[in-house]
């Protein structure tokens, strides 16, 4: 009985961390920069495909490929920020939506052209396949790995964005751009860096998610947009790392519990939890009002 419950808890948390990893980049760009970046999934997809190409074609080990993906997708993000996104910061949010949805469709077509329409799966090292003993529990090795990586990223972000000078600069810039500028903050650079960070995280999340989701294909940015990106960020509260983590874990646990105890409602359990949470806290669990 206890084993059953702990296994369920573990699986729910691991799924929650997956949701967190896929959404945290969006929490950074949308929450901190106030930019409705629906193209988040495109960056995640780029990360997924890059990870696959690096591990299968270039022979880079999986663990080494992950930081490379983070840096590469971050750099692409910075490039796109400077050339495209920057022009739209002052536009109304509807423009953001249309612009980034357009980008997403282009990314989908581009990925089909480059990688083809079939699914591609990640090759992970043998020690991440099958089961491992963890605290006396038989658990999936890759899930355990996700939990550890997700925890580390959450910690790094909480300290990096909320306790450092750079974090303070980002928040100052978002809250009052002109004031921040008059205080000598290079606003443009701060936004570029933040956007690069968000994109890099999106790419990393995408690369980590592939093995869990089964594979990646060009329709990925559209297929996972709602549940995996938007719900987590909205329920968590815009711009809050801990909020996104809490929301992701809650949704993951709810999904696991529903599938295990009441599979009939499993298809919409996650949405039910979303509705209840948003009714309780319309700005998200840890959202600023």
């Amino acid at each position: 009985m206890a084993v059953e419950l702990l296994t369920l808890l573990f699986n729910g948390l691991a799924y929650g961390v997956l949701l967190f990893l896929m959404a945290i980049g969006l929490s950074v760009t949308m929450g901190m920069m106030n930019f409705v970046n629906l193209a988040h999934g495109a960056f995640a997809m780029l990360g997924g495909y890059l990870g696959i190409s690096l591990t299968t074609r270039a022979g880079v080990p999986f663990l080494a490929a992950l930081p490379l993906v983070f840096v590469a997708v971050g750099a692409v993000g910075a490039g796109i920020e400077v050339t495209l996104y920057r022009r739209f910061y002052r536009s109304p949010q509807l423009t953001h939506v249309l612009f980034t949805i357009g980008l997403t469709f282009m990314a989908v077509a581009g990925a089909t052209y480059v990688w083809g329409s079939q699914i591609a799966a990640m090759r992970v090292p043998d020690w991440l396949i099958g089961q491992t003993m963890f605290l006396g529990l038989q658990v999936g090795s890759y899930r355990l790995f996700l939990l550890l990586v997700g925890g580390a990223i959450a910690l790094a972000l909480v300290f990096g964005l909320e306790r450092t000078r750079f974090g303070a600069m980002v928040r100052a810039t978002v809250d009052n751009r002109r004031m921040a500028q008059s205080l000598g903050i290079d606003v443009g650079r701060v936004f570029s860096l933040t956007f690069a960070l968000g994109s890099g995280l999106a790419g990393l999340g995408g690369a980590l998610a592939v093995n869990f989701l089964g594979g990646i294909q060009p329709a990925f940015p559209l297929g996972y947009l709602l549940v995996y990106f938007l719900i987590v960020v909205t329920v968590g509260g815009l711009g809050s790392t801990l909020g996104a983590l809490a929301a992701a874990l809650l949704l993951g646990l709810a999904d696991a519990a529903a599938k295990f105890y009441a599979p009939v409602i499993a298809s919409f359990a996650i949405y039910l939890v979303m509705v209840v949470l948003l009714m309780w806290r319309p700005h998200g669990i840890l959202g600023r009002r």
Partner: protein
């Protein structure tokens, strides 16, 4: 047989007549294809269309001076409303003679009433839910049905020492179809069902289901999910949940080990037993030639799979009907020929049941093996002339 001979005679006569009348500027015969060429099922539509075009290229693109034109429309599906609108455009504006393709069941169902109304033969090249052919008298199916596959797998499981099975299917039409057929025929053969779950079509998380399966301690887990990332995800979840170690086998319809994705499954798939009507290693001359021609035309990256064979055989049927009618695409006459098609397909012997207008296949039990660096479905037992057991009309 007599009917066939009559047709043959009629077409020879017609051929003689039309040779006089055939002119180079005769209007083309147009076939409207409704398939998924973008979106998450883009692979399906691409395989179907590639194979149909290959058939045409191999057999010459004209009959009795009339060129055969494929007019392909993309639903970007799953998208039944778009499929319906496209069918309307094809019928009204483009004046197509036949409708073909149909990757997904909901799209076929949406178009069926239009086929009836416009009297256009509608050739199904995939859409595998049993009920599809009942929705219009103009529908003829050249693919397979999930009832066909699942009932054979149930029979095989019962014959091979599997006594208790847990079923897990995707929660949509084809999944419910597969679940129903498997349960019915496994129970009839003396087996018991330990439990049944349906997983959300969009969700990639199967671990809690695997935990339920493990608790129920069946001999085997029967799975149906659509081919693609879900298939890889469910296989990995099976592996990562330690079900094999607990003595629970996984058996599935061949969607999971579809040749277009099988190599992405990796070693997790080796040994997996599935039932299906096509494997690209089916040991026949017809199949060897087909695979060779497909890869010569489209490269070796996308392996021909069951979708492609549906497209190839569907085009075979259409082409044959048009030849016998000497390029005259009269819908009712074409339908009469289509519903009596019988030929050697790359998948093995194939025929259409004239009463149900549905595909009759040899269903094979196969095992995933590694062969020269790639994964293949090796057939080891055949159930010839399998009809969907629950189809009566």
């Amino acid at each position: 047989m007599i009917r066939r001979a009559a047709f043959a005679t009629a077409s020879v006569l017609a051929l003689g007549l039309s040779l006089v009348g055939a002119r180079a500027d005769s209007p083309p015969i147009r076939i409207g294809f409704i398939v998924d060429l973008s979106g998450e099922f883009a692979d399906y539509g691409t395989e179907i269309l590639n194979a149909a075009k290959l058939y045409l290229a191999q057999h010459g693109g004209a009959i009795a001076g009339r060129k055969i034109e494929i007019d392909a429309k993309d639903t970007g599906g799953p998208n039944p409303e778009v499929a319906k609108r496209l069918a309307q455009e094809l019928i009204v504006n483009d004046k197509v003679d036949l409708l073909a393709g149909f990757t997904l069941t909901p799209e076929a169902l949406a178009v069926a009433p239009l086929a009836t109304e416009a009297k256009k033969p509608m050739v199904i090249m995939n859409a595998a839910t049993s009920i599809v052919t009942e929705k219009s008298p103009y529908i003829v199916r050249f693919s397979f049905t999930l009832g066909e596959i699942a009932s054979v797998l149930a029979k095989w499981a019962a014959e091979n020492g599997i006594k208790k099975v847990y079923t897990l299917v995707s929660d949509y039409g084809p999944g419910v179809n597969a679940e129903g057929a498997f349960k019915k025929y496994f129970t009839l053969a003396g087996g018991t069902i330990a439990g049944s779950d349906r997983s959300p079509l969009k969700g990639p998380e199967f671990a809690p289901f695997m935990q339920r399966v493990k608790d129920a301690k069946p001999d085997a887990l029967f799975v149906f999910v659509p081919s693609g990332d879900q298939g890889v995800a469910v296989t990995k979840a099976y592996q990562d949940s330690g079900l094999a170690g607990a003595g629970i086998k996984m058996i599935a319809t061949g969607d999971i080990t579809d040749e277009a994705v099988i190599d992405q499954l990796g070693d997790a798939a080796v040994g997996l037993v599935t039932a299906f009507h096509y494997s690209d290693t089916h040991p026949s001359e017809a199949n060897k030639e087909y695979v060779k021609a497909f890869q010569a035309a489209y490269g070796s990256k996308l392996r021909p799979d069951f979708m492609s064979v549906g497209g190839y055989d569907g085009m075979h049927g259409i082409y044959d009907a048009l030849v016998r009618l000497n390029g005259n695409a009269d819908p009712d006459q074409a339908l009469e020929i289509l519903r009596r098609e019988k030929f050697e397909s790359p998948r093995g012997p194939f025929w259409v049941d004239p009463d149900t207008r549905d595909a009759v296949n040899t269903v094979y039990i196969r095992k995933v093996e590694r062969q020269g660096g790639r994964l293949v479905n090796t057939e080891f037992k055949a159930y010839p002339d399998t009809k969907d057991p629950d189809k009566t009309k």
